[in-house]
């Protein structure tokens, strides 16, 4: 499946454009700040129903406008499918496949998969556990649709449970049977999600290891571990044990919403001991392993979105990667670069490559 046609109206810095895309490789070049990344983000929107960068839909509307539309025509073996995303201020987001509006956006997840490699990937190492949890949940949702449903359910039960704990705390009351009905629902959901996350890590680590060794000439041993309250204890007991604490603080202190993944290099935490170069290699290996893993698990090859790849790799490795993405093991690829000629020279004369130059808020094909 590849993106054949892309259409923006009032999305971020763009007023209106329509592009015919290459089936294999599309490069967007232009100076800093012209909105190259926004093109990739629009494609990410069509895949994930939201922005990679800004989760508030209305803030992605062009300044001074009331709405935005992103439309993409995806094609596979000459069968076309149009995906539409419309956001209007003060209205519910409309997301359509063909003529049909999705009732639940979660039904769309996994239909078109993307893997984004971006300079802000560093947040995965630097920020709190929620950023890592969200990323791993995103990967699992791409091949396991019921996982996302369970996660949504878990979060809703958790929100009710937290509201109840807060009421108990504020009114200095407690009624165990009220809490019990939520606990009884939370436990099986948590156990299911834990088992899926655990199985994911076991399957993913060898794929990741392979990618990292390829990039680093095999001298370092990368891995990451999964930490969860459900690791070594029955969750039902754990919840009971922490009930008093939960009532004191007024929210749920244990559960899979507190899980974390710890990135390690040679058994030491990457955040503290990894050099900047090692961290960058780690992140790009993680993302490429994500690509490999989803290619293997799902029906379609994901669309690869490479934003400012020169931030992470040196010339030699970029050359290797670009040679790799031209091969059959990769599907459609979108690349941005500030240097007008670098990508053009790299893909010199290759038929399956299209280069677009962005100036004055309009991308134009230049080769």
């Amino acid at each position: 499946m590849h993106l054949k046609k892309l259409n923006f109206i009032n999305f971020k810095n763009y007023e209106d454009f329509s592009l015919e895309l290459a089936e294999k490789i599309n490069c967007f070049v232009g100076y800093n700040g012209v909105g190259k990344t926004n093109v990739l983000d629009g494609i990410y929107y069509l895949s994930n129903c939201k922005s990679f960068f800004n989760p508030v839909d209305s803030q992605n509307i062009k300044e001074g406008e009331e709405f935005f539309v992103i439309e993409g025509v995806f094609s596979e073996e000459n069968q076309n499918e149009t995906i539409y995303c419309g956001v209007k201020k003060g209205r519910k987001k409309v997301f359509k496949k063909g003529k049909r509006s999705y009732e639940k956006l979660s039904e769309h997840i996994g239909y078109i998969n993307t893997v984004m490699i971006s300079p802000i990937d560093g947040n995965l190492i630097l920020e709190g556990s929620d950023v890592r949890r969200k990323y791993i949940d995103h990967i699992i949702s791409q091949y396991n649709p019921s996982y996302l449903q369970d996660l949504i359910k878990y979060n809703k039960v958790l929100a009710h449970r937290n509201a109840l704990l807060k009421q108990f705390k504020e009114s200095h009351t407690f009624e165990s049977s009220s809490l019990e009905v939520w606990d009884d629902q939370l436990v099986p959901l948590a156990e299911k999600i834990y088992a899926i996350r655990k199985a994911f890590i076991e399957g993913f680590i060898p794929v990741f290891d392979k990618r990292y060794k390829k990039l680093s000439n095999g001298l370092e041993a990368p891995t990451f571990t999964y930490q969860s309250h459900l690791e070594d204890e029955d969750f039902k007991n754990k919840l009971k044990e922490n009930q008093k604490k939960d009532r004191t603080v007024g929210y749920s202190t244990v559960g899979i919403h507190k899980d974390d993944y710890v990135f390690l290099l040679n058994d030491k935490p990457l955040k503290k001991f990894g050099s900047q170069g090692q961290q960058k290699t780690y992140l790009i290996a993680l993302k490429l392993a994500h690509y490999d893993f989803i290619s293997d698990k799902s029906f379609h090859k994901p669309i690869l979105l490479l934003d400012d790849i020169y931030d992470k790799l040196d010339e030699k490795r970029i050359k290797q990667l670009m040679e790799a993405v031209l091969q059959k093991s990769f599907g459609q690829v979108f690349i941005t670069d500030t240097d007008q000629n670098r990508l053009k020279n790299l893909f010199d004369g290759k038929e399956e490559v299209k280069v677009f130059q962005i100036a004055n808020e309009i991308p134009k094909a230049i080769g």
Partner: protein, 201 residues
Amino acid sequence: MNIPSKVVEQAVEEFATLPSIGKRSALRFVLHLLKQDPSDLEDLAQAILKLKNDIIYCKSCSNISDKEICDICANLERDHQTICVVEDVRDVMALENTYQYKGLYHVLGGIISPMDGVGPQDLKIEELITRIKTQNIKEIIFALSATMEGDTTNFYIYKRLKDFDVKATVLSRGVAVGDELSYADEVTLGNSIKNRTVFEI
């Protein structure tokens, strides 16, 4: 909106407090009423006042009624050993319209939802347990909306029933998950109460 009369403005404000009535519709009502005979307006005002003064809630099932015990509860031809548990009065009307159910009702007045500040103590759950304890009830039918909150309420009541010899059943769902009962069509709803199934967790 610029209204040249304080009296009209106040009436518009009042109408606009009704569900799904905006200021424009409210103004249309008020201007329409201005053209009516005083006696018609008197009737309307009386009907509104009577709502609070004369309507009572059935002492047994909490359905709206003109008497202490509603017509459904008072009807000896109905099956007095079966209670259908519903969220509100609209659900009683929806189920009665199907002509498929001959038992009694119990109107909870909502469903458990801590996020909306609604707990078991805000609902008529204790009253239901008392009825089961004292009225020789053989079957409880759960007819709450098929949402997480509706299911949780079923589950909460079900747990309270374990000391009693009473069968718990639930509507079979031809109704799509998450739909409110009162929006289902009569045939679908009628079938779902006829083909009810044993409640399972």
